[in-house]
Protein backbone atom coordinates (compact mmCIF):
# COMPACT_ATOMS: atom_id res chain seq x y z
CA UNK A 1 0.00 0.00 0.00
CA UNK A 2 1.71 3.13 -1.18
CA UNK A 3 2.70 5.89 1.19
CA UNK A 4 2.33 9.24 -0.52
CA UNK A 5 3.78 12.55 0.50
CA UNK A 6 2.52 15.63 -1.33
CA UNK A 7 4.62 18.80 -1.20
CA UNK A 8 2.47 21.90 -1.46
CA UNK A 9 3.02 25.63 -1.35
CA UNK A 10 0.77 28.18 0.32
CA UNK A 11 0.93 31.10 -2.10
CA UNK A 12 -0.71 34.45 -2.51
CA UNK A 13 -3.64 34.45 -4.88
CA UNK A 14 -2.21 36.36 -7.83
CA UNK A 15 -5.70 37.57 -8.76
CA UNK A 16 -5.65 39.72 -5.60
CA UNK A 17 -2.28 41.36 -6.23
CA UNK A 18 -2.53 44.91 -7.49
CA UNK A 19 0.09 46.95 -9.29
CA UNK A 20 0.63 50.41 -7.83
CA UNK A 21 0.42 52.93 -10.62
CA UNK A 22 3.08 55.31 -9.28
CA UNK A 23 6.08 52.98 -9.02
CA UNK A 24 4.75 49.68 -10.43
CA UNK A 25 5.43 47.98 -7.11
CA UNK A 26 3.21 45.09 -6.12
CA UNK A 27 0.55 45.53 -3.50
CA UNK A 28 -0.25 42.17 -1.95
CA UNK A 29 -1.88 43.61 1.15
CA UNK A 30 -5.29 42.36 0.09
CA UNK A 31 -4.09 39.08 -1.35
CA UNK A 32 -5.48 35.97 0.25
CA UNK A 33 -3.56 32.74 0.53
CA UNK A 34 -4.31 29.64 -1.47
CA UNK A 35 -2.89 26.21 -2.04
CA UNK A 36 -0.87 26.60 -5.20
CA UNK A 37 -3.08 25.53 -8.10
CA UNK A 38 -1.07 22.63 -9.47
CA UNK A 39 -0.33 21.28 -5.98
CA UNK A 40 -4.08 20.72 -5.66
CA UNK A 41 -3.81 18.33 -8.58
CA UNK A 42 -1.01 16.50 -6.77
CA UNK A 43 -3.09 16.18 -3.58
CA UNK A 44 -6.10 15.03 -5.59
CA UNK A 45 -4.10 12.39 -7.46
CA UNK A 46 -2.67 10.89 -4.27
CA UNK A 47 -6.09 10.95 -2.60
CA UNK A 48 -7.75 9.22 -5.55
CA UNK A 49 -5.19 6.44 -5.69
CA UNK A 50 -5.41 5.86 -1.94
CA UNK A 51 -9.22 5.88 -2.00
CA UNK A 52 -9.15 3.24 -4.75
CA UNK A 53 -6.31 1.03 -3.56
CA UNK A 54 -5.44 1.92 0.01
CA UNK A 55 -2.36 3.59 1.37
CA UNK A 56 -1.91 6.97 2.96
CA UNK A 57 -1.44 10.60 1.99
CA UNK A 58 0.70 12.93 4.08
CA UNK A 59 1.32 16.49 2.99
CA UNK A 60 4.22 18.80 3.77
CA UNK A 61 4.67 22.53 3.37
CA UNK A 62 7.35 25.10 4.17
CA UNK A 63 6.43 28.75 4.40
CA UNK A 64 6.05 31.76 6.61
CA UNK A 65 3.81 31.76 9.69
CA UNK A 66 0.87 32.09 7.28
CA UNK A 67 1.12 28.41 6.30
CA UNK A 68 -0.90 27.53 9.39
CA UNK A 69 -3.92 28.90 7.55
CA UNK A 70 -3.51 26.20 4.92
CA UNK A 71 -3.94 23.20 7.21
CA UNK A 72 -7.70 22.93 7.24
CA UNK A 73 -7.88 23.49 3.51
CA UNK A 74 -5.27 20.88 2.67
CA UNK A 75 -6.73 18.31 5.05
CA UNK A 76 -10.18 18.76 3.52
CA UNK A 77 -8.80 17.85 0.10
CA UNK A 78 -8.03 14.22 0.90
CA UNK A 79 -4.81 14.36 2.92
CA UNK A 80 -4.60 12.22 6.07
CA UNK A 81 -1.96 14.19 7.92
CA UNK A 82 -0.30 17.56 7.41
CA UNK A 83 3.29 18.42 8.33
CA UNK A 84 4.24 22.08 8.29
CA UNK A 85 7.38 24.12 8.72
CA UNK A 86 6.74 27.77 9.49
CA UNK A 87 9.81 29.97 9.49
CA UNK A 88 10.65 33.52 8.49
CA UNK A 89 13.44 32.19 6.26
CA UNK A 90 10.72 31.17 3.79
CA UNK A 91 10.11 34.83 2.97
CA UNK A 92 13.44 35.08 1.15
CA UNK A 93 13.89 31.42 0.30
CA UNK A 94 14.76 30.56 -3.29
CA UNK A 95 14.39 27.11 -4.81
CA UNK A 96 17.76 26.13 -3.32
CA UNK A 97 16.63 26.82 0.26
CA UNK A 98 13.17 25.38 -0.24
CA UNK A 99 14.49 22.12 -1.62
CA UNK A 100 17.03 21.76 1.20
CA UNK A 101 14.41 22.32 3.88
CA UNK A 102 11.90 19.97 2.26
CA UNK A 103 14.53 17.28 1.70
CA UNK A 104 15.67 17.54 5.32
CA UNK A 105 12.09 17.21 6.52
CA UNK A 106 11.47 14.19 4.29
CA UNK A 107 14.57 12.51 5.74
CA UNK A 108 13.01 13.02 9.16
CA UNK A 109 9.40 11.97 8.50
CA UNK A 110 9.92 9.53 5.60
CA UNK A 111 10.49 7.28 3.86
CA UNK A 112 7.66 7.55 1.32
CA UNK A 113 6.98 5.52 -1.79
CA UNK A 114 5.84 8.43 -3.94
CA UNK A 115 6.61 12.10 -3.30
CA UNK A 116 4.27 14.23 -5.39
CA UNK A 117 4.06 17.90 -6.19
CA UNK A 118 2.59 20.19 -8.84
CA UNK A 119 4.46 21.05 -12.04
CA UNK A 120 5.25 24.51 -10.65
CA UNK A 121 3.93 26.99 -8.12
CA UNK A 122 1.30 29.59 -9.06
CA UNK A 123 3.48 32.48 -7.93
CA UNK A 124 7.00 31.71 -9.12
CA UNK A 125 6.46 28.78 -11.49
CA UNK A 126 10.12 27.90 -11.12
CA UNK A 127 9.40 24.22 -11.79
CA UNK A 128 12.44 23.29 -9.74
CA UNK A 129 11.17 21.68 -6.56
CA UNK A 130 10.57 18.14 -7.78
CA UNK A 131 13.92 17.65 -9.57
CA UNK A 132 15.82 19.45 -6.82
CA UNK A 133 14.29 17.46 -3.96
CA UNK A 134 14.88 14.24 -5.90
CA UNK A 135 18.52 15.18 -6.54
CA UNK A 136 19.11 16.00 -2.87
CA UNK A 137 17.45 12.79 -1.68
CA UNK A 138 19.12 10.66 -4.34
CA UNK A 139 15.76 9.58 -5.78
CA UNK A 140 14.73 9.37 -9.43
CA UNK A 141 12.33 12.04 -10.65
CA UNK A 142 9.51 11.88 -13.18
CA UNK A 143 8.27 15.35 -14.05
CA UNK A 144 5.21 16.62 -15.95
CA UNK A 145 3.13 13.51 -15.35
CA UNK A 146 -0.31 13.32 -16.88
CA UNK A 147 -1.15 9.75 -15.87
CA UNK A 148 0.07 7.97 -12.74
CA UNK A 149 -0.23 4.31 -11.72
CA UNK A 150 1.23 2.80 -8.58
CA UNK A 151 1.21 -1.00 -8.45
CA UNK A 152 3.19 -3.18 -6.05
CA UNK A 153 6.09 -0.81 -5.65
CA UNK A 154 6.28 0.07 -9.34
CA UNK A 155 5.35 3.57 -10.43
CA UNK A 156 4.29 3.88 -14.07
CA UNK A 157 3.63 7.25 -15.61
CA UNK A 158 2.75 8.96 -18.83
CA UNK A 159 4.57 12.26 -19.14
CA UNK A 160 3.26 14.87 -21.48
CA UNK A 161 5.87 17.03 -23.15
CA UNK A 162 5.51 19.49 -26.00
CA UNK A 163 7.27 17.16 -28.40
CA UNK A 164 5.90 13.80 -27.30
CA UNK A 165 4.19 11.75 -24.67
CA UNK A 166 6.47 9.36 -22.88
CA UNK A 167 5.78 6.27 -20.78
CA UNK A 168 8.24 5.56 -18.00
CA UNK A 169 8.49 3.26 -14.98
CA UNK A 170 10.45 3.32 -11.77
CA UNK A 171 10.71 0.62 -9.10
CA UNK A 172 10.94 1.97 -5.63
CA UNK A 173 10.72 5.48 -4.23
CA UNK A 174 10.33 8.31 -6.72
CA UNK A 175 9.56 12.03 -6.88
CA UNK A 176 6.79 12.95 -9.33
CA UNK A 177 5.50 16.30 -10.52
CA UNK A 178 2.01 16.32 -12.02
CA UNK A 179 0.39 18.39 -14.73
CA UNK A 180 -2.83 20.25 -14.13
CA UNK A 181 -4.71 18.05 -16.59
CA UNK A 182 -4.07 14.86 -14.61
CA UNK A 183 -7.39 15.36 -12.78
CA UNK A 184 -9.92 17.89 -11.62
CA UNK A 185 -9.33 18.62 -7.93
CA UNK A 186 -12.36 18.14 -5.71
CA UNK A 187 -14.06 21.11 -4.13
CA UNK A 188 -14.31 20.13 -0.47
CA UNK A 189 -17.85 19.87 0.86
CA UNK A 190 -19.03 20.64 4.37
CA UNK A 191 -18.37 17.06 5.47
CA UNK A 192 -14.77 17.19 4.27
CA UNK A 193 -14.20 20.56 5.89
CA UNK A 194 -15.59 19.35 9.22
CA UNK A 195 -13.59 16.13 8.91
CA UNK A 196 -10.43 18.10 8.33
CA UNK A 197 -10.61 19.58 11.81
CA UNK A 198 -10.25 16.07 13.27
CA UNK A 199 -7.25 15.10 11.17
CA UNK A 200 -3.76 15.36 12.63
CA UNK A 201 -1.24 18.04 11.80
CA UNK A 202 2.28 18.36 13.12
CA UNK A 203 4.63 21.29 13.14
CA UNK A 204 8.24 20.50 12.32
CA UNK A 205 10.63 22.96 13.90
CA UNK A 206 13.18 24.10 11.35
CA UNK A 207 15.80 23.88 14.09
CA UNK A 208 15.21 20.15 14.40
CA UNK A 209 16.18 19.46 10.79
CA UNK A 210 19.92 20.06 10.95
CA UNK A 211 19.76 22.77 8.29
CA UNK A 212 22.57 25.29 8.82
CA UNK A 213 22.08 29.05 8.77
CA UNK A 214 24.15 29.14 5.57
CA UNK A 215 21.70 26.69 3.98
CA UNK A 216 18.89 29.17 4.63
CA UNK A 217 20.63 31.90 2.64
CA UNK A 218 19.23 32.04 -0.89
CA UNK A 219 21.61 31.72 -3.84
CA UNK A 220 19.17 33.68 -5.98
CA UNK A 221 18.33 36.94 -4.24
CA UNK A 222 15.32 38.93 -5.39
CA UNK A 223 16.32 42.48 -6.25
CA UNK A 224 12.97 43.78 -7.36
CA UNK A 225 9.54 42.76 -8.56
CA UNK A 226 7.63 45.23 -10.66
CA UNK A 227 4.24 44.99 -12.24
CA UNK A 228 4.25 44.34 -15.94
CA UNK A 229 2.33 47.13 -17.58
CA UNK A 230 1.09 46.71 -21.08
CA UNK A 231 0.53 50.01 -22.80
CA UNK A 232 -2.12 49.47 -25.40
CA UNK A 233 -4.40 51.81 -27.26
CA UNK A 234 -7.59 50.43 -25.70
CA UNK A 235 -9.88 51.66 -28.48
CA UNK A 236 -13.17 49.81 -28.07
CA UNK A 237 -16.02 49.82 -30.59
CA UNK A 238 -19.46 48.95 -29.31
CA UNK A 239 -21.89 50.06 -31.98
CA UNK A 240 -25.41 48.65 -31.84
CA UNK A 241 -24.93 47.35 -35.35
CA UNK A 242 -21.86 45.07 -35.31
CA UNK A 243 -21.20 45.91 -38.95
CA UNK A 244 -20.36 49.46 -37.89
CA UNK A 245 -17.86 48.25 -35.31
CA UNK A 246 -16.32 45.89 -37.85
CA UNK A 247 -15.94 48.69 -40.39
CA UNK A 248 -14.18 50.89 -37.81
CA UNK A 249 -11.93 48.05 -36.76
CA UNK A 250 -10.92 47.25 -40.34
CA UNK A 251 -10.13 50.88 -41.06
CA UNK A 252 -8.03 51.06 -37.87
CA UNK A 253 -6.11 47.95 -38.87
CA UNK A 254 -5.56 49.38 -42.34
CA UNK A 255 -4.12 52.54 -40.80
CA UNK A 256 -1.82 50.34 -38.67
CA UNK A 257 -0.49 48.96 -41.94
CA UNK A 258 -1.75 45.44 -41.26
CA UNK A 259 -3.63 45.07 -44.56
Amino acid sequence: MPKFLVLYKWTLDEQDIKIKSDDLSLDASRAKGKISDFDRNAIEEAARIVEAKGGSVDVLTYGSAAVKQSLKDVLSRGADKAYWIADASAETADAVVTAKVLAAAIRKIGPYDVILTGEGSSDQFNQQTAPRVAALLGLPCLSLVHKLDVEAGTVSVTRKLAVCTEQATVSGPVVVSVLSDINKPRIPGLKQVLGAAKKPNEEIALGSLGVSPADLQPKAVRRSAKGFVMTRKNVVFKDANPADSVAKLVSSLVSEGLF
Partner: protein, 306 residues
Protein backbone atom coordinates in the same frame (compact mmCIF):
# COMPACT_ATOMS: atom_id res chain seq x y z
CA UNK B 1 35.39 28.76 -10.99
CA UNK B 2 36.05 29.29 -14.64
CA UNK B 3 33.93 28.68 -17.61
CA UNK B 4 30.62 29.23 -19.25
CA UNK B 5 28.78 26.02 -20.01
CA UNK B 6 25.75 25.47 -22.17
CA UNK B 7 23.51 22.58 -23.10
CA UNK B 8 20.32 21.93 -24.97
CA UNK B 9 19.11 18.66 -26.45
CA UNK B 10 17.35 20.80 -29.09
CA UNK B 11 20.04 21.54 -31.71
CA UNK B 12 18.46 24.84 -32.77
CA UNK B 13 18.13 26.07 -29.21
CA UNK B 14 21.68 24.94 -28.39
CA UNK B 15 22.99 27.20 -31.15
CA UNK B 16 20.84 30.09 -29.91
CA UNK B 17 22.37 29.66 -26.43
CA UNK B 18 25.75 30.53 -27.90
CA UNK B 19 24.64 34.14 -28.38
CA UNK B 20 24.18 34.89 -24.64
CA UNK B 21 27.15 32.63 -23.87
CA UNK B 22 29.38 34.74 -26.13
CA UNK B 23 28.14 37.89 -24.37
CA UNK B 24 28.98 36.31 -21.00
CA UNK B 25 32.38 35.32 -22.37
CA UNK B 26 32.98 38.97 -23.18
CA UNK B 27 31.97 40.04 -19.67
CA UNK B 28 33.76 37.29 -17.76
CA UNK B 29 36.70 36.51 -20.07
CA UNK B 30 36.11 32.81 -19.60
CA UNK B 31 35.91 30.06 -22.22
CA UNK B 32 32.68 28.47 -23.45
CA UNK B 33 32.15 24.74 -23.15
CA UNK B 34 29.10 23.33 -24.92
CA UNK B 35 27.62 19.90 -24.23
CA UNK B 36 25.97 18.10 -27.14
CA UNK B 37 24.26 14.78 -27.71
CA UNK B 38 25.00 14.32 -31.41
CA UNK B 39 28.02 14.80 -33.63
CA UNK B 40 26.41 17.19 -36.10
CA UNK B 41 25.30 19.58 -33.36
CA UNK B 42 28.70 19.30 -31.70
CA UNK B 43 30.40 20.32 -34.95
CA UNK B 44 27.98 23.22 -35.41
CA UNK B 45 28.54 24.50 -31.87
CA UNK B 46 32.33 24.35 -32.35
CA UNK B 47 32.02 26.28 -35.60
CA UNK B 48 29.76 28.93 -34.05
CA UNK B 49 31.97 29.90 -31.14
CA UNK B 50 32.11 27.22 -28.46
CA UNK B 51 35.76 26.87 -27.43
CA UNK B 52 35.24 23.25 -26.46
CA UNK B 53 32.38 20.91 -27.22
CA UNK B 54 31.85 17.79 -25.15
CA UNK B 55 30.00 15.19 -27.17
CA UNK B 56 28.14 13.06 -24.62
CA UNK B 57 27.85 9.36 -25.39
CA UNK B 58 24.58 8.61 -23.63
CA UNK B 59 23.20 5.13 -24.20
CA UNK B 60 19.58 6.09 -23.48
CA UNK B 61 19.62 9.73 -24.55
CA UNK B 62 17.04 10.44 -21.82
CA UNK B 63 17.96 14.02 -21.01
CA UNK B 64 16.33 14.09 -17.57
CA UNK B 65 18.55 11.20 -16.50
CA UNK B 66 21.80 12.99 -17.32
CA UNK B 67 21.72 15.21 -14.23
CA UNK B 68 24.58 13.59 -12.35
CA UNK B 69 26.68 13.19 -15.49
CA UNK B 70 26.22 16.82 -16.53
CA UNK B 71 26.92 18.01 -12.98
CA UNK B 72 30.31 16.29 -13.09
CA UNK B 73 31.15 17.94 -16.42
CA UNK B 74 30.13 21.48 -15.39
CA UNK B 75 31.58 21.43 -11.87
CA UNK B 76 34.02 24.24 -12.71
CA UNK B 77 31.30 26.49 -14.14
CA UNK B 78 30.74 30.12 -13.38
CA UNK B 79 27.51 30.15 -15.38
CA UNK B 80 25.55 27.25 -16.87
CA UNK B 81 22.94 28.02 -19.56
CA UNK B 82 20.41 25.31 -20.38
CA UNK B 83 17.86 25.39 -23.16
CA UNK B 84 14.44 25.94 -21.59
CA UNK B 85 12.61 22.96 -23.02
CA UNK B 86 10.69 20.84 -20.53
CA UNK B 87 13.48 18.26 -20.48
CA UNK B 88 16.05 21.03 -20.18
CA UNK B 89 14.34 22.63 -17.19
CA UNK B 90 14.21 19.30 -15.38
CA UNK B 91 17.89 18.67 -16.07
CA UNK B 92 18.86 22.22 -15.03
CA UNK B 93 17.07 21.92 -11.68
CA UNK B 94 18.88 18.65 -10.94
CA UNK B 95 22.26 20.11 -11.89
CA UNK B 96 21.62 23.29 -9.88
CA UNK B 97 20.70 21.22 -6.82
CA UNK B 98 23.89 19.20 -7.12
CA UNK B 99 26.00 22.34 -7.62
CA UNK B 100 24.20 24.03 -4.71
CA UNK B 101 23.47 26.82 -7.18
CA UNK B 102 20.67 29.25 -7.84
CA UNK B 103 18.69 28.74 -11.03
CA UNK B 104 16.59 31.24 -12.93
CA UNK B 105 13.87 29.44 -14.86
CA UNK B 106 12.99 31.01 -18.22
CA UNK B 107 15.38 33.94 -17.92
CA UNK B 108 14.32 36.89 -20.07
CA UNK B 109 17.63 38.71 -19.66
CA UNK B 110 21.14 37.98 -18.40
CA UNK B 111 23.86 40.34 -17.22
CA UNK B 112 27.01 40.18 -15.13
CA UNK B 113 27.14 42.76 -12.36
CA UNK B 114 29.60 42.81 -9.46
CA UNK B 115 30.51 39.19 -9.81
CA UNK B 116 26.94 37.99 -9.96
CA UNK B 117 24.56 36.85 -12.67
CA UNK B 118 21.59 39.21 -12.79
CA UNK B 119 18.50 37.81 -14.47
CA UNK B 120 14.91 38.81 -15.02
CA UNK B 121 11.90 36.55 -15.28
CA UNK B 122 8.14 36.52 -15.10
CA UNK B 123 6.36 36.17 -11.76
CA UNK B 124 2.74 35.59 -10.76
CA UNK B 125 1.84 34.12 -14.13
CA UNK B 126 2.85 37.28 -15.96
CA UNK B 127 1.56 39.93 -13.59
CA UNK B 128 5.08 41.03 -12.68
CA UNK B 129 8.70 40.84 -13.73
CA UNK B 130 11.24 39.95 -11.08
CA UNK B 131 14.95 40.72 -11.13
CA UNK B 132 17.24 38.44 -9.16
CA UNK B 133 20.97 38.17 -8.62
CA UNK B 134 22.63 34.80 -8.46
CA UNK B 135 25.95 34.02 -6.82
CA UNK B 136 28.37 31.92 -8.91
CA UNK B 137 28.00 29.20 -9.91
CA UNK B 138 24.71 30.27 -11.43
CA UNK B 139 22.34 28.36 -13.69
CA UNK B 140 19.69 29.77 -16.02
CA UNK B 141 17.30 28.21 -18.49
CA UNK B 142 16.61 30.20 -21.65
CA UNK B 143 13.34 29.84 -23.58
CA UNK B 144 13.51 28.88 -27.26
CA UNK B 145 13.80 31.72 -29.80
CA UNK B 146 15.07 34.21 -27.21
CA UNK B 147 18.26 34.79 -29.17
CA UNK B 148 19.43 34.44 -32.77
CA UNK B 149 22.07 31.93 -33.81
CA UNK B 150 25.48 33.66 -33.85
CA UNK B 151 27.67 34.09 -36.93
CA UNK B 152 30.42 31.52 -37.51
CA UNK B 153 33.44 32.04 -35.27
CA UNK B 154 36.83 32.97 -36.71
CA UNK B 155 38.51 30.10 -34.91
CA UNK B 156 36.41 26.97 -34.51
CA UNK B 157 36.53 25.12 -31.20
CA UNK B 158 37.46 21.52 -30.57
CA UNK B 159 35.20 18.53 -30.01
CA UNK B 160 35.89 15.85 -27.41
CA UNK B 161 33.88 12.71 -26.84
CA UNK B 162 32.85 11.90 -23.27
CA UNK B 163 31.23 8.72 -22.00
CA UNK B 164 28.39 9.45 -19.56
CA UNK B 165 26.24 7.38 -17.22
CA UNK B 166 22.46 7.45 -17.57
CA UNK B 167 19.93 7.25 -14.74
CA UNK B 168 19.21 3.53 -15.03
CA UNK B 169 16.53 3.65 -12.31
CA UNK B 170 14.10 5.11 -14.84
CA UNK B 171 12.96 2.93 -17.74
CA UNK B 172 11.39 4.77 -20.64
CA UNK B 173 9.01 2.18 -22.09
CA UNK B 174 7.51 4.17 -24.92
CA UNK B 175 7.49 7.50 -26.68
CA UNK B 176 4.71 8.82 -28.89
CA UNK B 177 5.53 11.96 -30.85
CA UNK B 178 2.92 14.67 -30.41
CA UNK B 179 0.66 14.69 -33.43
CA UNK B 180 1.72 17.77 -35.22
CA UNK B 181 -0.22 19.60 -37.86
CA UNK B 182 3.15 20.84 -39.02
CA UNK B 183 2.06 24.35 -38.10
CA UNK B 184 4.33 26.40 -35.84
CA UNK B 185 2.08 29.16 -34.55
CA UNK B 186 5.07 31.00 -33.13
CA UNK B 187 6.09 31.74 -36.73
CA UNK B 188 2.68 33.01 -37.86
CA UNK B 189 2.42 36.69 -38.62
CA UNK B 190 -1.27 36.89 -37.76
CA UNK B 191 -3.14 34.77 -35.25
CA UNK B 192 -6.83 34.29 -34.58
CA UNK B 193 -6.98 32.98 -31.03
CA UNK B 194 -9.97 31.01 -29.79
CA UNK B 195 -11.36 31.01 -26.26
CA UNK B 196 -14.36 29.62 -24.43
CA UNK B 197 -16.70 32.10 -26.09
CA UNK B 198 -16.93 29.46 -28.82
CA UNK B 199 -19.80 27.19 -27.90
CA UNK B 200 -18.71 24.12 -29.82
CA UNK B 201 -15.86 22.64 -31.77
CA UNK B 202 -18.16 22.81 -34.79
CA UNK B 203 -17.92 26.60 -34.64
CA UNK B 204 -14.13 26.67 -35.10
CA UNK B 205 -14.46 27.17 -38.90
CA UNK B 206 -15.52 30.73 -38.04
CA UNK B 207 -12.01 31.33 -36.69
CA UNK B 208 -10.33 29.21 -39.36
CA UNK B 209 -12.06 31.14 -42.14
CA UNK B 210 -10.88 34.44 -40.73
CA UNK B 211 -7.35 33.11 -40.20
CA UNK B 212 -7.28 31.90 -43.80
CA UNK B 213 -8.33 35.33 -45.06
CA UNK B 214 -5.61 36.91 -42.95
CA UNK B 215 -3.07 34.34 -44.18
CA UNK B 216 -2.57 33.51 -40.53
CA UNK B 217 -3.16 30.61 -38.16
CA UNK B 218 -5.57 29.67 -35.39
CA UNK B 219 -4.30 29.53 -31.83
CA UNK B 220 -6.20 29.09 -28.57
CA UNK B 221 -6.29 29.18 -24.79
CA UNK B 222 -5.12 26.33 -22.57
CA UNK B 223 -8.72 25.36 -21.81
CA UNK B 224 -9.58 24.89 -25.48
CA UNK B 225 -6.58 22.59 -25.99
CA UNK B 226 -6.29 20.78 -22.67
CA UNK B 227 -9.86 20.61 -21.36
CA UNK B 228 -11.95 20.59 -24.54
CA UNK B 229 -9.35 18.97 -26.84
CA UNK B 230 -10.69 21.08 -29.74
CA UNK B 231 -7.24 22.07 -30.93
CA UNK B 232 -3.80 20.47 -30.54
CA UNK B 233 -1.68 21.34 -27.50
CA UNK B 234 0.92 22.98 -29.74
CA UNK B 235 -1.60 25.71 -30.53
CA UNK B 236 -2.27 26.98 -27.04
CA UNK B 237 -0.72 30.20 -25.85
CA UNK B 238 0.21 31.08 -22.31
CA UNK B 239 2.55 30.69 -19.40
CA UNK B 240 2.93 26.94 -19.89
CA UNK B 241 2.24 26.97 -23.62
CA UNK B 242 3.50 28.93 -26.59
CA UNK B 243 4.83 32.47 -26.59
CA UNK B 244 4.07 34.38 -29.77
CA UNK B 245 4.89 37.80 -31.20
CA UNK B 246 2.75 38.21 -34.33
CA UNK B 247 1.96 41.51 -36.00
CA UNK B 248 -1.73 40.90 -35.30
CA UNK B 249 -3.18 38.93 -32.40
CA UNK B 250 -6.93 38.66 -32.71
CA UNK B 251 -8.36 37.33 -29.44
CA UNK B 252 -11.87 36.00 -29.98
CA UNK B 253 -14.13 34.95 -27.15
CA UNK B 254 -11.33 34.78 -24.63
CA UNK B 255 -11.32 36.75 -21.41
CA UNK B 256 -7.63 37.65 -21.37
CA UNK B 257 -6.47 36.04 -18.14
CA UNK B 258 -2.91 37.00 -17.31
CA UNK B 259 -1.78 33.36 -17.64
CA UNK B 260 -2.86 33.46 -21.27
CA UNK B 261 -1.83 36.99 -22.16
CA UNK B 262 1.72 36.49 -20.96
CA UNK B 263 2.20 34.39 -24.08
CA UNK B 264 0.77 36.99 -26.44
CA UNK B 265 1.55 40.36 -24.93
CA UNK B 266 4.55 41.02 -27.12
CA UNK B 267 2.28 41.01 -30.19
CA UNK B 268 2.44 44.21 -32.21
CA UNK B 269 -1.31 44.84 -32.36
CA UNK B 270 -3.84 43.06 -30.16
CA UNK B 271 -7.51 43.02 -31.12
CA UNK B 272 -10.25 41.71 -28.83
CA UNK B 273 -13.70 40.48 -29.74
CA UNK B 274 -15.78 39.66 -26.70
CA UNK B 275 -19.39 40.02 -25.65
CA UNK B 276 -18.41 40.97 -22.08
CA UNK B 277 -17.44 44.62 -22.01
CA UNK B 278 -15.70 44.12 -18.66
CA UNK B 279 -13.47 41.26 -19.83
CA UNK B 280 -9.81 42.04 -19.01
CA UNK B 281 -8.86 41.39 -22.64
CA UNK B 282 -10.04 44.90 -23.56
CA UNK B 283 -7.44 46.43 -21.25
CA UNK B 284 -4.80 44.33 -22.98
CA UNK B 285 -5.97 45.21 -26.48
CA UNK B 286 -5.28 48.03 -28.93
CA UNK B 287 -8.67 47.65 -30.58
CA UNK B 288 -11.76 45.85 -29.43
CA UNK B 289 -15.28 45.08 -30.46
CA UNK B 290 -17.86 44.45 -27.77
CA UNK B 291 -20.17 42.03 -29.46
CA UNK B 292 -21.23 38.49 -30.19
CA UNK B 293 -18.42 36.70 -31.97
CA UNK B 294 -21.00 34.73 -33.96
CA UNK B 295 -22.15 38.00 -35.53
CA UNK B 296 -18.79 39.79 -35.66
CA UNK B 297 -16.54 37.09 -37.13
CA UNK B 298 -18.53 36.53 -40.36
CA UNK B 299 -18.74 40.30 -40.88
CA UNK B 300 -15.03 40.74 -40.25
CA UNK B 301 -14.13 37.83 -42.51
CA UNK B 302 -16.27 39.30 -45.28
CA UNK B 303 -14.86 42.82 -44.76
CA UNK B 304 -11.31 41.56 -45.15
CA UNK B 305 -12.15 39.78 -48.39
CA UNK B 306 -13.51 42.89 -50.00
Amino acid sequence: MTGIFLFSEDPVLAKQLLTPALALKGALDQPITALALDGATAADLAALGADTVLLLQSASGWVEGLGDAVTDLVRAATVVLVGGTQRGKHLAAHVAAKLDAGLTTDAKSLAIEDGKLVTSRILYAGLAVGVEELAFPAVATIPPRSYPTPEAAQTPGSVETVAVTDDIRVTVTGTTPTESSGVDISLANKLVSVGRGFRSKDDLPLAEGLAAKLKGEVSCTRGIAEDEYWLPIERYIGISGQTVKPDLYLAVGLSGQVQHMVGARESKIIVAINSDERAPIFEAADYGIVGDLYAVLPLLTAAITS
